[in-house]
């Protein structure tokens, strides 16, 4: 068994015991429910997360189950939501704050970058802010530019924050639990177009997915396709299409952006010699630029073609042209073919 297989088996899928088929959003809810039950320090709050259960229903039922002391609505202010999370975490709670859409992290941005990200550092470790900001992100829901954006790169560029984005129910639950039990502020992006589209096995037993570990979704030898979040199903579709043409694509789901699994990506590229990176955020200064940089820096001699990228365009996210904006399987396939034919 190769190292890659081994890692995939350990972290990419359920181990033993009972499992159920859940959607990604059900897995998110379940993680919160279990952690609320496990640890009285855990609180869930944000705009409309109480009786309403959140606009996507990620917190549906939680207030009914745990009461308004543990699960509550806040005023309409992202600075309040994030700032309150910082203060609660400093005073010893484990806040899970929801930002209704990732597009609305703007008003809470300074709280995230000046308070959440820096309090451990600036205080010499005297004060810490273990908190989670959960937020639905990404396109594909005809939301125009304020309900479709992928702002994760801003946060990956902010030292002090951990950044994760699951694409499967298994990872959604495991990463959220890891975040809640961790000691650092974690920005947890939920690919909203997979909320109900992504279904998969989720163990009944307690487990976590370690932050910082990627997963091999499909093994291959000709090209490494790296993605995270909402683009993963299309990346897998592209790989399947190429497989039908006899091309063997290895598909890696990063899951964690900060820190990311350099070892996993580099050993794959060293094997395949080709890499295509897929994300839906605008291209300039996006997170995949870092991945591409590291690949070419660390695996230069293995590269048979330039590292390719499929990303969002450097325009605001459009409404009518939603589907054209997003990388789909065809665009991903084409990028792979280009790298293969280089």
């Amino acid at each position: 068994m190769t190292a890659t297989q081994d890692r995939s088996a350990q972290t990419g899928q359920a181990q033993t015991g009972e499992t159920r088929i859940l959607t990604l959003i059900q897995a998110v809810t379940e993680a919160m429910r279990e952690e609320l039950a496990r640890d009285d320090r855990v609180v869930v709050f944000g705009e409309d997360v109480g009786a309403r259960g959140g606009v996507f229903l990620a917190t549906a039922g939680l207030q009914a189950e745990f009461g308004p002391r543990r699960v509550f609505d806040t005023p309409l202010s992202e600075a309040s939501v994030v700032g309150a999370a910082v203060g609660m975490a400093v005073r010893g709670l484990r806040p899970i704050a929801e930002i209704q859409f990732a597009d609305y992290m703007g008003p809470g941005f300074d709280q995230i970058i000046s308070q959440a990200a820096k309090i451990r550092y600036r205080s010499g470790g005297q004060f810490t802010a273990p908190l989670i900001i959960r937020t639905p992100s990404g396109g594909g829901v005809k939301g125009g530019h304020h309900h479709s954006q992928s702002p994760e790169s801003y946060f990956t560029h902010t030292p002090g924050l951990k950044v994760v984005m699951p694409s499967t129910p298994y990872d959604a639950k495991g990463l959220l639990k890891a975040a809640i039990r961790g000691e650092d502020p974690v920005i947890y992006f939920e690919p909203k177009r997979l909320y109900r589209a992504a279904k998969g096995e989720v163990p009944s037993h307690d487990y976590i997915v370690k932050i910082g570990e990627g997963a091999v979704r499909r093994e291959g030898t000709d090209l490494t396709l790296v993605g995270y979040g909402g683009v993963m199903p299309d990346a897998e579709r592209a790989a399947a299409a190429l497989a039908a043409e006899g091309v063997s694509v290895e598909v890696i789901d990063l899951r964690s952006l900060v820190p990311w699994d350099r070892e996993l990506v580099l050993s794959s590229v060293q094997k395949t010699g080709r890499a295509v990176l897929v994300s839906e955020a605008p291209r300039i200064s996006n997170f995949m630029g870092e991945v591409a940089y590291v690949i070419q820096e660390q695996a230069f001699d293995s590269l048979l073609a330039p590292v390719g990228q499929v990303a969002g365009f450097d325009t605001p996210y459009p409404y009518v042209q939603d589907k054209v904006y997003l990388p789909g399987p065809n665009r991903i396939t084409a990028a792979c073919v280009k790298a293969l034919n280089y």
């Binding site: 606009v55 609505d73 600075a79 597009d103 304020h146 325009t315 665009r331």
Partner: protein, 384 residues
Amino acid sequence: MMTASPSISNIPPLSSPIEPFSPEPLRWVAEDGRPVRDLPARYTPELLRELHREMVRAREFDRKLVTLLRQGRTTFYAQSSGMEATQVGLARSIRVGHDWVWPYYRDHTLGLAMGVPMIDLISQCLGTNSDLCKGRQMPHHFGSASKNFVSISSSIASQVPPAAGNAMAQKYLGTDEITLCTFGDGATSEGDWHAGLNMAGAAKAPALFVCENNQWAISTNLAAQTASPNIHIKAKAYGMPGFYVDGNDIVAVMEVCGYAAEWVRAGNGPALVECLTYRVGSHSNADADAEKNYRTRDEVNSWLARDPIARVEGLLAHLGYPVDAEERADLISAVHRAVDADVLKAEATGQPDWRIMFEDVYADTPPHLREQAAFVRAEQEGQK
């Protein structure tokens, strides 16, 4: 006609200033349509009928958009049903096309009443080629340069600091324009709301801030939103007057907002008006099912009973000019026909293609966007 209306002696004549910070919302017409103050002469039956027509038009426009959504021809709606007195009244309080407006996403009734052609609003909702905003935003996020009705951003309260700046520019340029800035009750919790009002106050800029307090921000009611007893009191923090008005009474809205607008125009600095109204529909289509989880039918019904359109009808009846059922039905079906016709016209223009994605990002198109556009062009051509 005014002889029939009760004249309440302790109400100040309308030429006199309207006092801010009234303990109760200012009201001219009671819920049953009977005036509680002298009606100013300008409220002729003709004017009231016109206002009534506009309110009915807006209500039916709302209904038709819900239908379009159900038919899958749009993707989102944010009804302003129940808030017609506020928005139609507001449109009558400013100088349309001269003053500037920084609105929010629930303001299509304001847009209609300001004379934005219905087809413009419909085109924006459908995202057709006839959309002035080129299909770039969700329904209800329109803008119209000819009306100085600035294109709406979804980001709550983000229009407030720009509205302050717009008013500062109007003052700088020596115009007699004012800037109207609208927002919901929930918006007042955002930091940008505060930043905008404080800036306008410090700059003594001619901005009229109007809160369309429909008492809910999605599922969050005013008590959960803020510990202040109401919104207009917040004006004290910015050294400006805060007016409190019954937002379901179109006469009250026009009197108070009209007064506040001219007070602002006169160079006194900004003002805040709170129009107390109610969102009788769901927050948006996405909220239609969930709504029952956070508010009671009783509450909704009690506000349905205080309908602003019924109130004007009551007033008209009281004045001896009732709107009869047939007239009403004709009015409604005329709106439906107009909407249907505009929908067809808009749809006939087709949907903007991929090119609109790369236009208007900048004044020019920089090399990297030219390259990305060329990439999509090739992709699209390859798919043919």
